[in-house]
């Protein structure tokens, strides 16, 4: 394991001790799962729209380079300026250069996972630009100087009391209250001033339509509309997989997204932006910039199997249904994308040296695969990445970095034993006699025994018992 490797095991065992955190997650996830099930109660409809959604995403991936070119051409025609970034550093530099040109001091942000991936806030703040999250959940997390713990509900790890204390502590005009309506109203008042005075608005993109050069954003709060309408400059950042071919591809994907994410038939706002302010229009930004980010995605795309990761529409349902995520919460993953999708995406984006542990944060129960609205074979990819982590290769950065000589030897011994009846008989007889004498603290055994009882070996092997019953060995 490399030095910079992120320790999921340690962080998750700390999270498991935190009863408050576990309670917060359990409650939230149970609610989300049952509400989502109601939205998709009509199985025929679910199957139909899911197949359609998957086909839309796959069709987009099948023509990805052409669609990105078309998106660029149509955006440009509409007056949206398109920028390409291979890395997050490059994307940050593009955003900064726009800011500097317009001399921006204050930025309001709508929710954007790609900007989390870029660590954009920290980057801009170091350069003296105030970057304010305006989605309520993101705002809370930013006040708390923490990371989002869920891609849809960033502050899901906190309860009202914790947020009440945070507001009292961090917002000048705050009175202590646990009334959610009052807390929300306080955020409204603080942020309205910021919307009105911000120099630049930054947003993500839920989908970009190649056919029309349209950026689609879904949201409930209106902060996304504020961020993309009030400031004179709007910068949208998107991962290059977010493109769809046609405008008519948007409705099925939005339907799957909002129902899977928050069990709503639709979000309060569906915001489709196709151009900056035109002559004669009285509001809207004068400039729109679209930053298309690769950050490892083109590498993922090159592999036939791993490519399916790029179908994701970031609904977060796989998190809500994951037995691991719902116990340890989002922070244990120490990644912008936690849960099942994070466990397959992060290792591919940041490399297996650093993220090789994440594909193991999975029981392979398949719950995520069953609910994924675009049918990503998450568990298969998980297995593939486990294998990539221990076999040198070039499909994923850091392949082979988790190879361990001891483990390789164990497997080799195992396969040799199983290939030879004599060796097998000898080994099982030996374990029947001596296995129970092995101390629970043996290095490889310890992983299992430190939280579980050590299994007992039967003192007669199955083969011996079978022989006694007159069943011959083959």
């Amino acid at each position: 394991m490399g030095e910079s490797s992120i320790n999921f095991a340690k962080a998750s065992s700390a999270a498991l001790q935190d009863q408050q955190l576990r309670g917060n997650f359990r409650r939230a996830m149970d609610g989300l799962m049952s509400k989502r099930a109601v939205q998709f109660a009509d199985t025929a409809e679910w199957n139909g729209v899911r197949a359609l959604g998957a086909s839309v995403r796959l069709r987009a991936l099948s023509k990805l380079p052409e669609l990105l070119e078309k998106l660029e051409a149509n955006c440009t025609k509409n007056g949206i300026q398109v920028h390409w970034a291979s890395t997050t550093d490059e994307a940050n530099a593009i955003v900064l250069s726009i800011m500097q040109r317009v001399n921006a001091k204050l930025v309001v942000k709508g929710k954007s996972m790609v900007s989390e991936e870029m660590h954009l806030n920290a980057f801009l703040e170091k350069r003296g630009i105030e970057c304010l999250e305006s989605d309520l959940g993101e705002y809370i997390v930013q006040l708390d100087e923490a990371m989002p713990s869920h891609i849809i509900m960033p502050a899901i790890h906190m309860n009202t009391k914790q947020i009440a204390h945070l507001f009292k502590q961090k917002i000048k005009e705050a009175e202590y209250t646990e009334d959610v309506a009052q807390l929300t109203d306080l955020a409204r008042r603080v942020l309205r001033k910021k919307f009105a005075t911000a120099d630049v608005g930054i947003s993500g993109v839920n989908m970009a339509v190649a056919e029309t050069g349209t950026l689609c954003l879904v949201e409930n709060e209106g902060n996304g509309r504020m961020s993309t309408t009030v400031p004179p400059v709007h910068i949208a950042v998107m991962g290059l997989e977010k493109v769809v071919e046609k405008l008519e591809d948007v409705p099925p994907v939005i339907s799957l997204l909002t129902r899977s994410a928050t069990a709503q038939p639709i979000t309060t706002y569906v915001n489709m932006i196709s151009s900056p302010r035109k002559a004669g229009e009285k509001d809207g930004p004068d400039e729109i910039h679209l930053v298309i980010l690769d950050n490892g995605r083109s590498g993922i795309y090159a592999d036939e199997e791993l490519r399916n990761t790029l179908r994701c529409i970031r609904c977060g349902a796989c998190m809500n249904h994951c037995p691991v995520y719902t116990k340890v919460g989002g922070h244990a993953y120490q990644a912008p994308y936690p849960g099942p999708i994070g466990s397959i995406l992060m290792p591919q984006v940041e490399g297996l040296e650093k993220r090789g542990e994440l594909p193991h944060a999975c029981t392979m129960c398949n719950a995520c695969v069953e609910i994924c609205p675009v049918k990503i074979p998450i568990v298969e990819i998980m297995g593939r990445l486990r294998s990539e982590a221990v076999h040198p290769g070039d499909a994923v950065r850091g392949a082979g970095s988790h190879a361990s000589k001891a483990e390789a030897m164990v497997w080799k011994g195992w396969s040799m034993t199983y290939a030879s009846p004599l060796a097998y008989q000898f080994a099982t007889a030996l374990l029947a006699k001596l296995g129970n004498a092995a101390p629970a603290s043996l290095p490889l055994l310890k992983e299992w025994t430190n939280v579980r009882a050590k299994p007992r070996f039967a003192n007669r092997t199955l083969h011996a018992l079978a022989r006694e019953k007159g069943i011959p060995d083959v």
Binding site: L52, T212, T229, E248
Partner: protein, 219 residues
């Protein structure tokens, strides 16, 4: 920058050409088959939108300006932002009686009255292009005469909906009206007042956008 563009596109092309992908057919039948008949559509729209705190005001072609004024007066609304150059705006200014809430025209670039917009406006009124039964959503296309912020910044948004401009699905509305031939600067679906559940999953209304959405149904 264009170096990255070419590198990215080149890599994508090589990756795809090495392993081309044949997507399954996109079958839109699941959307095409969602149908409700006339009266049912509006009922469904009301039910779905009321579930997320939208209010409905029933009126007629002849009376809507008067009814809107009476409604706002009863709510204690101080003023109403409107688009003076639209047909609806013309009716409002012509039929607005003395002593009601003040009518404020959105007649200039937002820069000229941003402060007032954010601080001193209670309500805004816009037209819509119809509503969608499947999800309970209004279709709003802002225009130079009815700018984008009218339906966003004021604390209350009133939306005029003609009872015969109803669609089954979002997909039907965009395909039948050939949206793909020319999208406006901004197209919106609005399905309720602004809301959030970011504090412990507790629903709260009016976080950044309007606290109240009032659909004025014109029959």
């Amino acid at each position: 920058m264009s170096e990255s563009r070419n590198a990215i596109l080149g890599k994508l092309r090589a990756g795809r050409d090495a392993h081309p992908l044949t997507p399954p057919e996109s079958d839109f039948a699941v959307l095409r088959n969602k149908r409700w008949d006339g009266a049912e559509r509006l009922e469904r729209i009301k039910r779905m939108m009321e579930a997320v705190h939208t209010e409905f005001l029933e009126t007629t072609e002849a009376d809507w300006p008067t009814d809107v004024q009476a409604f706002l007066k009863a709510q204690g609304t101080r003023n109403l932002l409107f688009g003076p150059a639209t047909e609806a705006g013309g009716r409002l200014s012509a039929e607005w009686a003395e002593g009601g809430p003040e009518l404020i025209p959105y007649a200039d670039r937002v820069e000229t009255f941003k402060e007032r917009l954010f601080d001193g406006i209670d309500a805004g009124i816009t037209t819509t292009l119809g509503a969608i039964a499947d999800t309970g959503s209004l279709i709003v296309w802002p225009t130079p005469e009815e700018p984008r912020l009218m339906s966003l910044v004021p604390h209350m948004h009133l939306a005029l909906l003609r009872a015969d401009a109803l669609y089954d699905t979002f997909w039907q509305a965009m395909t039948e009206n050939r949206w793909a031939d020319g999208m406006p600067t901004n197209a919106l679906l609005i399905s309720g007042p602004s809301k959030t559940a970011d504090i412990e999953q507790t629903l709260a209304y009016g976080v950044h956008g309007p606290k109240r959405l009032v659909v004025v149904v014109i029959r």
